[in-house]
């Protein structure tokens, strides 16, 4: 590996992860508060900076300046490790998301792995360790119960999450996210096969299993990121604050931000798999081949498109949170194990049959 590649990768990591994703995490906290306020006919934070946009900065400073209190009864090493373990995997999964086509001859993806979705699921599963450790290391009953509960929830939904994208992988015959996106750019998005080869009977029929996948994937993503209607880990009346009851200041903030980071990465993955990633609809400005040069302004438009789609998906997450009441715990488990697991399996068989027949 020469220096050129290392420097390019470093620039991509710094810009995509630290200059775009992390501020996006902060902004989504702000968006959550403003959107929920608008939904509930309130105003929301509007004092700090224009439209309250700097609220996130103020909150960050507040979290950093607060006393970082470690209770005497906790297991210190794991207690300190747990918040990092929830935040870091969420950011690590950024590595394989193609956030643009090409810019100045560089592929706009940090690591162009041939096992993209597998890598995402493997790393995202590590988030469970953060929650297990937080619940256990706190050495106190409410965090412990909350940790157990959210662990079983996340493990349950990981199955249907993984199974739900199998049909998609079967249809594209590829696990490289860049190639999946390019395929969608040329032949219609997975959920919108309206141009290229997608505009055929085969494309429309295959959109049925993809739509089922999409519903299972999105719902499981809600459960994985502990968002309402599946925010069972936190429950004031039963568990106080769940696994992060004993945490304060920046360690608490890391759990909080980890949830939003997971939400952004989940949105990014959903956009990449089902909505054509960085591609514009109807194949506009699509490069001819994966390795073709694109003008820099095409590259910029593609990056902008990707983030516009991700932000739209985040807003969907937020609106759903303020729309639905939460599930009861047994309903949640029933939904995961009895319905989604079976439907996802049947969907794989259905896709195989359709691919064989068509």
């Amino acid at each position: 590996m020469d220096w050129h590649l290392i420097i390019a990768a470093a620039i991509k990591i710094v810009v995509f992860v630290f200059l775009v994703t992390l501020p996006l995490v902060a902004m989504s906290v702000w968006a959550e508060r403003r959107v929920s306020a608008a939904i509930q006919d309130r105003v929301g934070p509007n004092r700090v900076g224009p439209f309250g946009l700097l609220q996130a900065v103020a909150d960050g400073i507040k979290f950093l300046l607060k006393e970082d209190f470690t209770p005497a009864h906790v297991r210190k090493f794991y207690f300190w490790l747990a918040p990092a373990l929830t935040m870091v995997p969420a950011l690590l999964t950024c590595a394989v998301l193609p956030f643009g086509s090409r810019l100045f001859g560089e592929k706009m993806v940090i690591a162009d792995l041939d096992v993209g979705p597998l890598y995402v699921f493997a790393i995202a599963s590590l988030t469970v360790y953060g929650i297990v450790l937080a619940g256990w290391a706190s050495n106190s009953k409410y965090p412990f119960l909350g940790g157990v509960r959210s662990t079983s929830q996340m493990i349950s939904y990981e199955i249907s999450l993984g199974l739900s994208i199998v049909p998609l992988v079967m249809i594209y015959g590829d696990l490289n996210l860049s190639r999946i996106v390019h395929e969608q750019a040329q032949n219609g998005w997975a959920l919108l096969p309206l141009w290229g080869e997608g505009l055929s009977l085969k494309g429309f029929i295959l959109a049925i299993p993809i739509f089922i996948s999409f519903i299972i994937f999105t719902t499981s993503m809600f459960a994985e990121t502990n968002r309402l209607p599946f925010d069972l880990p936190e429950c004031e009346t039963e568990l106080v604050a769940g696994y992060h009851t004993e945490y304060s200041s920046m360690k608490f903030a890391l759990f909080f931000l980890g949830e939003y980071a997971a939400m952004i990465i989940g949105s990014g993955l959903a956009v990449t798999l089902f909505f054509g990633g960085w591609s514009l609809p109807f194949g506009w400005l699509t490069p001819a081949t994966l390795d073709a040069e694109v003008p820099w302004w095409h590259g910029m438009i593609h990056i902008g498109t990707f983030f516009a789609k991700v932000i739209a998906f985040i807003l969907f997450f937020i609106v759903v949170r303020w729309t639905l009441p939460r599930f009861r715990y047994d309903q949640l488990m029933r939904l995961g194990w009895v319905f989604f697991f079976e439907i996802a399996l049947a969907n794989v068989v259905l896709t195989a049959l359709l691919l064989w027949l068509l």
Binding site: A38, I39, D41, V43, N46, I215, V319, V320, W322, T323
Partner: protein, 176 residues
């Protein structure tokens, strides 16, 4: 006796949960758009916008002392307000008006008149009990201070808030 609750029988598409999701989204997005486009007036941005213009005449704000059109301080230090004040916020130190004063016949006036605005409950009993129409509850409601001492309104401050009030009964004028 046990009551058997008849649960509504859901249609198959209602059991799918998704239609309910979209109905719910319609409600929340409706509110979201109405608030965003300003169709729904949410609330008043308090420090910038104030309710002052809409305050009713009987509004009970900070109590204050008034002077009349002759420039006379109307309070005669009878101390009725001090005695009736439920939280005992008012402290009056009376003094005699010297005989060479223009209003010497009034005989008494407050040397010091203090209202502790931390204690005041804005009940308006002082205004009600005052036989001289000297104390009124004004429309000032944002009484703030950075120390306890600052929150005690002395006589000077009370006259500043109260100002001149005309058209009151002037029972002392006839005996001039």
């Amino acid at each position: 006796m046990a009551i058997i609750v008849q649960r509504p029988k859901l249609k198959w598409w209602e059991q799918l949960y998704l239609p309910a999701l979209f109905i719910g989204m319609k409600v929340t997005l409706g509110h979201f758009i109405a608030t965003l486009t300003g169709k729904k007036k949410v609330t008043m941005q308090y420090p910038e916008e104030k309710w002052d213009a809409h305050l009713p005449d009987h509004y009970r704000g900070a109590p204050a002392l008034v002077t009349d059109e002759h420039g006379r301080e109307r309070c005669v230090a009878c101390q009725l307000c001090e005695f009736i004040c439920p939280p005992r916020a008012i402290t009056i130190k009376p003094e005699e008006i010297p005989s060479d004063d223009k209003w010497a016949k009034v005989e008494k006036r407050p040397r010091a008149f203090e209202i502790d605005m931390i204690r005041c409950i804005y009940c308006g009993l002082c205004e009600e009990v005052c036989p001289e129409q000297a104390i009124f509850l004004r429309k000032d409601y944002a009484i703030t201070g950075t120390s306890r001492a600052e929150m005690v309104h002395d006589k000077e401050r009370l006259y500043e808030i109260g100002g001149v009030r005309t058209g009151l009964v002037n029972k002392w004028n006839e005996l001039k």
